[in-house]
């Protein structure tokens, strides 16, 4: 392979990867710009197998989006609505509990709860929500509220970030999802989500959570108006934060989907960019244990290919059997356990069902 990397101009990076030496921002630029895609995959795969062997993880989880009402209304978002919008909704605690109850017979290990920044739901609503979910299904792990929501809850309660997290942990919060990071660059945030928590503050909430004993994830929404340098800055900011706390479990690059957003004029991301985003993050984020190819956003084919480009996790949204599926669930929204395991085995990997903290179930 040496000759390959020499010809591709990636030999120095190859040597660094072999000796487990940290890559620089310039290395990241070079990797993003390479036209040698299989060579890039090969490099990322070295790190992937060093950290996670031949395992490919998935999780049996359930998603609940309690409300789409949002005061931020970011330009890349097709989900958030004004309170007065005809499609605006908010779920009562009873509705949320009944969603949990509906799937009681299934071996769901994690419930993933996120929503918009609601202008007037009280702090108590969130506390009651977690308490009620835990009462309904005590063994389930609750991964809830992105850093952006945590900051919002702190703002409406008048409590500090630490106090807010402690309140939520007391009623069952188990970990924090990685959303709301978008691209940390202030240029991007001013243009696309000026009302949102800044990148610096997002990282501060995540680090505070780590110090409080919570594990969290991290994301980047790529493929809109950001530059490659801004992507790399984002990754390096995450790496630095992880050096400080070690609390991040997983990084998930999220491909931007323009449909129904204010950026509809943009194209969807290409498959090559999707794979590069996975591979470069695996190579730069040497201190992140896991990289996720979220199959619901990438499609099962690209997500499976990504298992050879640095990813070790496909996430979940799995169904135990086909009944619900046949009853009209969109194929792109759910896979059966046997479908997801087939996908993993066909990639030559060993499927491992995990819990939120990556312990095998």
């Amino acid at each position: 392979m040496e000759k390959v990397f020499k010809e591709a101009g990636l030999f120095e990076i190859y040597e660094k990867v072999l000796s487990d030496t940290r890559l620089s921002a310039e290395d990241g630029e070079l990797l993003f710009s390479t036209t040698h895609l299989p060579a890039l995959g090969y490099l990322a795969n070295i790190v992937r197998e060093r950290l996670n062997g031949n395992r490919a993880y998935y999780i049996y989880n359930q998603h609940i989006n309690y409300s789409n009402i949002c005061i931020n209304l970011c330009k890349f978002c097709a989900f958030g609505k004004k309170k007065t919008h005809p499609k605006a909704y908010e779920m009562s605690i009873e509705e949320i509990v009944s969603k949990i109850r509906e799937r009681h017979a299934e071996p769901v290990t994690e419930v993933h709860i996120v929503g918009g920044l609601h202008p007037d739901l009280p702090y108590q609503y969130y506390i009651d929500m977690l308490r009620a979910v835990k009462a309904e299904r005590p063994e389930i792990h609750i991964q809830a509220f992105t850093c952006v929501e945590i900051a919002h809850l702190a703002a409406i309660s008048g409590r500090s970030i630490t106090e807010t997290l402690e309140d939520l942990m007391q009623v069952g919060l188990g970990s924090i999802p990685g959303g709301g990071a978008e691209v940390f660059s202030t240029r991007i945030r001013e243009k696309l989500c000026p009302k949102k928590l800044s990148g610096k503050d997002w990282l501060e909430v995540a680090k505070t959570a780590h110090r409080a004993g919570l594990r969290t994830n991290a994301t980047m929404l790529y493929g809109h108006i950001e530059t490659i340098s801004e992507r790399i800055e984002h990754l390096l900011a995450l790496r630095e934060a992880q050096d400080e706390t070690g609390g991040f479990l997983c990084y998930i690059p999220l491909a931007f989907h323009p449909k129904n957003t204010k950026l509809e004029y943009l194209s969807s991301t290409g498959g090559v960019d999707d794979l590069k985003s996975i591979a470069v993050s695996r190579l730069l984020l040497d201190n992140f244990p896991h990289i996720k190819a979220y199959w619901v956003m990438l499609g099962p084919k690209v997500a499976q290919i990504a298992l050879s480009f640095g990813a070790d996790d496909l996430d979940g949204t799995v169904l135990e059997e086909k009944i619900t599926h046949m009853a009209g669930a969109d194929t792109s929204q759910a896979m059966t356990r046997s479908e997801i395991e087939h996908l993993i085995r066909q990639a030559g990997r060993e499927p491992v069902e995990r819990d939120t903290l990556y312990e095998p179930v």
Binding site: H36, G270, V272, K301, L307, S308, L343, Q346, A347, G348
Partner: protein, 394 residues
């Protein structure tokens, strides 16, 4: 150990069947992709990815073959069976021309009653009214015409060429081993019949493509055998322009297998690029793989994005429906770092000298500038001479 095999590929030496199988089974996806990418760069040093503007026209869906993998056909007597009228055909051709189309891919089921003259008249009608390249009738159709007419394959081809046939599509190859064909398509052309049609066509100066439909009942060995049969024939004739592989789409068919995955596609594409050292072009199948995987495929051996498929019915009947406009194809190709170029069936670039569409010379200057391997250059020259001959008289 696969490293001696890897060295062979790097040294431009031909792989044996055993080499190919071992490499296919043992090599990691990125190693296989890297080798295929090296072969692609060697054959196509310029960062150009081509595509053709055409439409699939399926003149009938009535078919006596009844292949188990097919979701498109109707048995004779079925109420949803159709035969396209002249009017429908003309409308489809007009639309194709208005969208800048240079060719049609004309294929259909094996109809029990239509005589050979029906197909001749269809071609003559098209050629009399439209300056368009007719890429028509896959080998099983030609074999079928031979049976219903009592003429030899060669005689059938000669008559169709006279009526306007320009080239033959590589469909109906499925897997070129008779064990597989007996299981999934027992009434269709055998392996030898399929290859014989292509050899005869090449001998008459027609260019053709070749395909593979994998991911059903075949073994990995049989995929390799398929590639070797194609490579052998190409050594003799040089008449294949391109190879196209796609996975079996199980929905709405009589075969119950899991849909093939993205990795499986890239692996098959890569090993095909490595084994088929005498095939100039490999197409990415965006229709079955979607735009994302098709873009990735450009780094796993493919140098062509196939057709814009103004119309496609057969894959759609199996529940897969990706649509791409020419502009979208160009964007996907550009996004991967390549220059998109429209081409004709024989891979001449549109706008370069020598580009002919349905007998009409296209406008544009410049030289045919593809620099490829020795064998291919020879093949191309041969093709041009024969292509011209076939256009003049038969």
């Amino acid at each position: 150990m696969i490293s001696p095999i890897i060295s062979k590929v790097r040294g431009g030496r031909r792989l044996s069947g055993d080499d190919a199988l071992l490499l296919y089974q043992e090599a990691d996806l990125n190693v296989l992709g890297q080798l295929a990418d090296e072969v692609r760069r060697r054959l196509h040093p310029k960062p150009i990815v081509t595509y053709v503007i055409d439409r699939n026209i399926n003149y009938t869906n009535i078919c006596i073959s009844g292949c188990k993998f097919c979701a498109y056909y109707c048995a004779p007597g079925d109420l949803s069976g159709y035969i396209l009228s002249r009017q429908e055909l003309a409308e489809k051709l007009e639309e194709t021309k208005s969208l800048g189309g240079t060719q049609i891919l004309l294929q259909g089921g094996l109809h029990p009653d239509l005589p050979l003259s029906f197909y001749e008249e269809m071609l003559s009608f098209i050629k009399a009214n439209f300056a368009i390249h007719c890429h028509a009738f896959s080998p099983p159709e030609i074999v079928h015409f031979s049976k219903i007419s009592g003429l030899s394959v060669k005689e059938v081809l000669v008559r169709l060429i006279k009526a306007g046939l320009d080239s033959i599509p590589g469909g109906g190859a499925e897997i070129l081993t008779d064990r597989v064909r007996k299981q999934i398509s027992p009434r269709k052309a055998t392996t030898d019949e399929w290859l014989n049609v292509m050899e005869t066509a090449h001998g008459l100066g027609l260019k053709t493509t070749a395909t593979m439909m994998y991911g059903h009942v075949e073994r990995l060995e049989e995929r390799i055998e398929h590639l070797l049969r194609l490579r052998d024939l190409q050594d003799r004739t040089g008449g294949f322009t391109a190879f196209i592989a796609w996975p079996f789409q199980p929905k709405n068919t009589a075969l119950d297998v899991r849909p093939s995955t993205g990795q499986e596609y890239l692996r098959l594409l890569s090993i095909s690029r490595i084994v088929l050292d005498n095939f100039p072009n490999l197409q990415a199948s965006w229709v079955t793989q979607g735009p994302k995987v098709a873009q990735i495929a450009l780094f796993f051996g493919a140098n062509d994005f196939g057709s814009t498929m103004i119309e496609e019915n057969v894959v759609a009947a199996a529940g897969v429906s990706h649509r791409l406009s020419e502009a979208e194809i160009r964007k996907i190709v550009t996004g991967a770092g390549f220059e998109p170029r429209q081409r004709l069936m024989d891979y001449t670039l549109v706008g370069e000298s020598g580009a002919e569409v349905g007998g009409q010379r296209s406008e544009g200057r410049g030289q045919r500038s593809e620099v490829r391997g020795q064998r291919e250059v020879r093949g191309q020259k041969k093709m041009n001479i024969e292509h011209r001959t076939s256009n003049i008289e038969f």
